[in-house]
């Protein structure tokens, strides 16, 4: 059995810390224990429960949000460490009733079953296409000094680049299809 450690008096007296986070373009003020992860801050303290807690140890990707435009795992992030960053969550994607093209693509291609991993999949997929547009290579790129363009992104490349997002229902074929669909929408909008 594990040893139960009684927290020291100093630890028990530790006060919450007040700080601000920029989330979906809005400044939110929080008063939290420094241990609070970004995911728990979003879900339990800010009413933004679109980001999901799957494994809570950085292995499933359900908690994926954007920090300064980059896909990040909010379950392995401390909220207090993101006071200088711009955070974007699934709730910030739609403009009024108009869905983000990636959200529309997941609807159109039926890119989910139970839907629990979907917010993480969508946040990850949006950043993934952005990375590909910047011709960033992946493990599936045969010669890393010659990465593919967004148009040339193979199915193998998409699967590799999305490997940080697990879907227990196994909706992968339609998720890949949705991402290809969104890529076409993205090109069409240019």
């Amino acid at each position: 059995m594990g040893v139960i450690t009684i927290p020291s008096e100093a630890a028990l007296q530790q006060a919450n810390v007040q700080f601000q986070l920029n989330i979906n373009g809005q400044t939110r003020t929080l008063d939290l224990d420094p241990r609070t992860t970004l995911l728990d801050a979003l879900r339990e303290h800010l009413g933004l429960n679109g980001s999901k807690k799957g494994c809570d140890q950085g292995q499933c990707g359900a908690c994926t949000v954007h920090v300064n435009g980059q896909r990040t795992l909010s379950c392995l992030s401390l909220a207090i460490a993101h006071q200088h960053d711009e955070i974007a969550t699934i709730e910030g994607l739609a403009e009024g009733e108009e869905l983000h093209p990636m959200q529309s693509a997941f609807m159109e291609c039926d890119g989910f079953q139970c839907g629990y991993c979907t917010p993480g999949q969508i946040m990850s997929a949006i950043a993934m296409l952005e990375e590909a547009a910047q011709t960033i290579p992946s493990h599936a790129t045969p010669v890393v000094s010659q990465p593919p363009s967004l148009d040339d992104l193979s199915l193998e490349e998409i699967r590799e680049r999305m490997s940080g997002n697990i879907c227990r229902c196994g909706a992968y074929p339609n998720i890949v299809e949705a991402i290809q669909y969104a890529r076409r929408l993205r090109k069409g909008s240019r």
Partner: protein
């Protein structure tokens, strides 16, 4: 998770000063290992010194090599044009590790400092000399399929999990640090990691409060002809069963310089000078590569469940060398 105090450092000097003032303080960058292990109560630092604001984010290259800031994210390092073109083994190793999300978070210094994935180290109910010195090792008699073959001791058989460090050790990387007394020093990566021996809890040559500022990778003609090959249970987002980082410089058919490092099988990122000695001066062909692989694994000490990795590691190295030799023709 145990309570901790959170401090944000605005300079390297402030960070090492804070580390000197607070017992049980650790530096905090990407957090991908630290927060994970704090949730498991495997690590319970009293103070976190956030070093993300320190200006250690640049990649500075000249003709003699490249200096990589401690806070450079794994993704930014992997994607950097100089790294892709002049040190492909490093880009390939980074891209073979973790997921895109984790690579966006993980820092260069944090990757150097990441802890083993040994399931007994990660479970506070298990015996582990690395986590709790003197408690014993449940891995040696337990499920040890993922554990090390080289550099083990009767106190610890945990594998070093990094891909990046295997590439860096093959590239003769040097770790630059700032000590709490304000002086700086350089530690070759080959001397940075400590074998477990009788003190598996001591993993690196770093002193308490010593801060990694950057990693220097010297250039060499072999670096351009370098390659990382990783074998794992699934094709993405998984730790290595075996891996090989290789670099070859050839003249005609003959190898004039060789670098060999192995991952997934060592208690530390495993450079293999014996394999390199077998390769130098010999023709770049299968027979030579097989001899090098035999030499690299000669000292392997398999456990109950990981003996398959001896042959797998040899084949991984032979294939990595074959692929890089093929590229040069």
């Amino acid at each position: 998770m145990h309570p901790f105090s959170y401090l944000e450092a605005d300079s390297a000097e402030a960070a090492i000063r804070a580390a000197g003032l607070h017992a049980g303080a650790v530096f905090f960058a990407g957090g991908t290992t630290l927060i994970d292990l704090m949730k498991l109560d495997v690590m319970s630092p009293a103070t976190l010194i956030d070093i993300n604001r320190l200006p250690l984010c640049s990649i500075d290259a000249d003709s003699s090599g490249v200096a990589i800031g401690a806070n450079v994210r794994n993704s930014d390092l992997a994607h950097h044009r100089v790294i892709r073109e002049r040190f492909p083994v490093l880009t390939e190793a980074l891209l073979a590790g973790a997921s895109a999300q984790l690579r966006n978070m993980a820092s260069t210094a944090g990757n150097l400092m990441q802890r083993t994935r040994c399931a007994y180290f990660r479970d506070i109910n298990a015996k582990c000399n690395k986590r709790e010195p003197g408690s014993g090792c449940d891995a040696i008699t337990g499920f040890n399929r993922m554990h090390a073959l080289l550099g083990t001791s009767e106190h610890c058989v945990a594998t070093h999990p990094s891909d990046m460090c295997v590439a860096l050790i093959a590239l003769d990387a040097v770790v630059h640090t700032l000590l709490p007394n304000g002086t700086s020093r350089e530690i070759p990566l080959s001397e940075f990691y400590l074998l477990p021996g009788t003190t598996p809890d001591r993993e690196t040559a770093l002193e308490k409060g010593e801060l990694i500022t950057h990693v220097y990778v010297p250039d060499h003609p072999a670096c351009r002809h370098s390659h990382y090959l990783k074998v794992r249970d699934r094709s993405s987002y998984e730790f290595a069963l075996t891996s090989a980082a290789v670099a070859l410089e050839t003249e005609g058919r003959n190898i004039v310089e060789a670098r060999v490092a192995l991952g997934g099988i060592g208690t530390i990122p495993w450079r293999s000078p014996v394999a390199e000695n077998v390769l130098r001066g010999q023709p770049a062909e299968r027979k030579t590569f097989e001899a090098a692989a035999e030499a690299a694994l000669a000292g392997a000490k398999p456990l109950k469940h990981n003996a398959f990795k001896v042959e797998l590691a040899k084949r991984t190295l032979v294939l990595a060398l074959t692929e890089i030799a093929w590229q040069q023709h």
